[in-house]
């Protein structure tokens, strides 16, 4: 087709958005190259390096007691931080999206704060509160309780870093759903809990899961914040990302990449889940 001199016939006009084929191919190739170089290659490198010394070395690194204890601590952290933030996210979204009150925007802005804080600072603030020189330090040491440089600190720092994930997803989803369905349920005689289980929860389930997936992925992979509050005690206060660092700094590259490959598999799974859930939410919302 030649370029239109007289834009009278509609087919010509409709092709306005379509760039000439060479331009399309060229730009697509460039974009794919950029994505490949910047994003895909690092992921491939993790797996290639992990298996650089063969299956046996890989399995040995993954099955070592230190790796297993890091897996355990990471799962424990995720198991506490994610449910806490999920509960918080649901409460916050309910209060913020179903009611009108003064200072609502301030509350929403405050919830987003942890996104803007460097992970290193997220760790530092808990050291300032619970550390030996911190606000509660003397009291804690009198009672022989250790928070920072121990497991509770790791869980707290992870909770801080992943704080807004579920709340943010739910707030934007529930904002668009309004309050009509819940009000109808109440008018028809449902109790508060009936309304929640039969109306609200089914409406938000995919968005909720989506938030939980994002929250879990971040909680599992958090490095900076956890690194500051962890005592870096092998087998005790090492999460998986910290274990990767230790192995790497010991020049045990294949071991570091083997452990990193476990985290990468989880990352890829979370991406796939995320795509599925995005698809589901789009299907159900008009």
């Amino acid at each position: 087709m030649s370029t239109a001199v007289l834009p009278l016939s509609s087919p010509v006009v409709r092709t306005v958005r379509r760039d000439p084929l060479p331009v399309q191919l060229g730009l697509t190739a460039l974009a794919l190259l950029a994505m490949g170089l910047f994003i895909v290659l690092p992921l491939v490198a993790v797996f290639v390096q992990a298996f650089a010394k063969g299956w046996e070395a890989y399995l040995a690194a993954v099955r070592s007691p230190e790796t297993l204890s890091a897996i355990y601590l990471s799962l424990l952290t995720v198991g506490i931080a994610v449910p806490l933030n999920t509960l918080f996210g649901m409460a916050a979204a309910w209060a913020v999206t179903k009611f009108q009150f003064t200072g609502k925007n301030v509350l929403v802005t405050l919830i987003d704060i942890p996104f803007g804080v460097s992970p290193v600072i997220a760790g530092l603030i808990y050291v300032l509160v619970f550390g030996a020189q911190g606000w509660l330090g003397p009291w804690l040491s009198d009672h022989d309780i250790q928070i920072v440089f121990a497991v509770p600190g790791i869980i707290l720092a992870t909770t801080f870093v992943t704080f807004p994930f579920v709340a943010r997803e739910l707030i934007s989803l529930m904002e668009s759903q309004g309050t009509d369905e819940e009000e109808a349920a109440l008018v028809l005689g449902a109790t508060g809990w009936q309304m929640f289980w039969k109306i609200t929860l089914p409406n938000i389930k995919w968005g909720l899961l989506y938030g939980v997936v994002l929250c879990t992925a971040r909680a599992l992979g958090e490095f900076g914040a956890v690194s500051v509050v962890s005592g870096h005690i092998r087998g005790e206060t090492n999460t998986l990302p910290l274990h990767v660092e230790i192995l790497y700094n010991e020049y045990n590259y294949s071991g570091a990449f083997a452990v990193a490959s476990l985290l990468s598999v989880v990352a890829v799974i979370s991406l796939a889940l995320k795509k599925c859930l995005e698809y589901k939410t789009r299907q159900e919302s008009p």
Partner: protein, 278 residues
């Protein structure tokens, strides 16, 4: 008083959820965060000033801000290209590429850090082709830029994609029927539409890059005065039990981030206003 604070509603559960939200927010986020400022306030102004303006710290600001700006600009250019291709063209595997855009969000930063270092080291897959050209990436400021670009790219792509997808087709058709060339349509119609989104993407990438730690420290090499980023100095001071120093630097970084976030909020509100009347 209660009535003026909250508009009446028949829905239950406001007070329990509101109270829980507020208490949890105060306990987990606000009180610990305020420790930074209380702590800074307890040391003398002179001491704080000496810490935050010492040559090593100033060198780290230069690196952190400089690398974050450059990485943000690269992210804008590359991110716009990728968003454009993902929104406007069809090709096999498009859904997969779209899913992979979020990889830097999902991949733990420490994993990204060691992977990028292995790629760009002198004997790495990419580094070995750059070394003969005299380009060193790993353990130089260039490496910091590479890591921050990896982190920043999805912010730009995800900011631009929806705006580009929503851009009104009729505007382009009108421009075309009035005799505009493709390039004119791009520069005069499309680009002004996505400019606020590009700016938002840049600001988000920049804000994240300033505080980024895990993906950078491996590839940076952390040479004093040369490749030390500001968050690393906070960690270094902490490891030396210099709490006052660490806190002072953290306060500078935190205030900068908050100003940035405020700017992003204003930008996003403007973008939304811009999009709504259409």
């Amino acid at each position: 008083m209660q009535a003026s604070f909250k508009r009446p509603s028949i829905l239950p559960g406001f007070w329990p959820t509101f109270a829980y939200t507020s208490i949890y927010l105060v306990l987990i986020v606000l009180v610990p965060l305020s420790a930074i400022f209380f702590r800074t306030a307890t040391s003398s102004w002179d001491h704080i000033w000496t810490v935050v303006t010492s040559p090593q710290v100033v060198a780290s600001y230069r690196l952190s801000f400089g690398a974050s700006i450059v990485a943000g600009l690269i992210s804008v250019a590359v991110g716009f290209l990728v968003a454009w291709v993902l929104v406007r063209y069809e090709f096999p595997g498009k859904a997969l590429v779209d899913a992979l855009v979020d990889l830097p969000f999902a991949l733990p930063t420490a994993v990204a850090g060691i992977a990028l270092t292995s790629l760009y080291a002198e004997n790495g897959w990419i580094g070995r082709y750059l070394a003969p050209l005299g380009i060193k990436v790993a353990f130089t400021p260039l490496g910091v830029i590479v890591a921050l670009t990896f982190i920043g790219l999805p912010f730009v792509i995800r900011s631009v994609q929806p705006v580009l997808a929503d851009a009104d087709q009729e505007l382009e058709e009108a421009a075309s029927s009035l005799g505009a060339t493709r390039w004119q349509i791009f520069t005069k119609v499309i680009f002004p539409l996505v400019r606020p989104a590009l700016l938002t993407g840049f600001a988000l990438a920049f804000a994240r890059a300033l505080g980024e730690y895990g993906s950078v420290i491996f590839i940076a090499g952390n040479l004093p005065m040369k490749t030390e980023i500001t968050p690393l100095l906070i960690v270094t001071k902490l490891e030396q039990y210099d709490y006052a120093g660490a806190t002072a630097i953290a306060a500078v970084l935190l205030i900068t981030s908050f100003i940035l976030l405020l700017g992003i909020n204003v930008l996003q509100r403007r973008t939304r206003k811009f999009m709504e009347p259409a």
